[in-house]
Symmetry: C2
Subunit: 186 residues, 2 copies
Amino acid sequence: MAVFEKLTHICSATESGLSSTLFNSPPFQSFTVFLLEISHSPFFNPPPPSGSGFAPIDRIVSLELPLVDPEAESFKSGSNGAENEVVVAGFVLFFPNYSTFLAKPGFYVEDLFVRECYRRKGFGRMLLSAVAAQAVKLGYGRVEWVVLDWNVNAIKFYEKMGAKVLPEWRICRLTGDQLEAYRDAM
Amino acid sequence: MAVFEKLTHICSATESGLSSTLFNSPPFQSFTVFLLEISHSPFFNPPPPSGSGFAPIDRIVSLELPLVDPEAESFKSGSNGAENEVVVAGFVLFFPNYSTFLAKPGFYVEDLFVRECYRRKGFGRMLLSAVAAQAVKLGYGRVEWVVLDWNVNAIKFYEKMGAKVLPEWRICRLTGDQLEAYRDAM
């Protein structure tokens, strides 16, 4: 994703950094990830972990062309109980935000990513739809995310999904040494 | 705030809406508000509620001109134990966000508001600094918020505080009927 967004210079994530900061809370209360897992044979879903409040969503998709994943081995995510392996094809990471104008929570989508060989098959729409459906289910007021203004394909895709791109708002970011300067501010 | 931002048409908050969706979690884990309370006489701070992990920050400010608050009665927030009343002069509402590029949480500031008669006295800076200091204390990587591109005074203020305004990113928003359409999407 950092490569695609031409932002590798600000990407400093490591596996241990991600492990220690994610997956510490029940789904939807804080940072939440929907993983897109794909297999050539049907899934036998285990019951959802007790108290999670969320059962995996199962979908059968028929593709016109056979799908070849050159990195399947690296992205293997265990077995589905049948003979074909399960591969992670994408993810969406989101968390609650809040609008005082609506007096309601919403979801903010930090990342929506589908691996290259799985693109243009409706999987991105599937991931974002799952977040939107969950927001409606919880009575939330908005789903928001950001897009780079030169990413016209993404903008078209988001608008087709019913989103509005807000032209007037700009993101302000305090980070690095400028943030560190506030250590003893209060 | 909605009046100032020329956004009253999208403001549908009510007191009961706010009450039922805020103040349900320990500070910093979810939606958090720092209230700016002002009194002419010193505060006698009670000990912080056990387990909250946050003690009120106390500051003495000397102003050149006497401060007249025509709405003091409406914004009264109890007594500070002395003879002068305590008034709410502003607030900042923020909550955790997450950067996969940093593999770290941050804070997103949804609202920063100081009531009109208290402006241009450093209170806005005080509220935002308190959020930034808390972010540093927790080892977080960023503090972010948004600004309207025509609000040049705010932009100057934020840049003086060390923030960068990101020119390329645009907010996408799925709300109202367009969001509701996803109720049965999954």
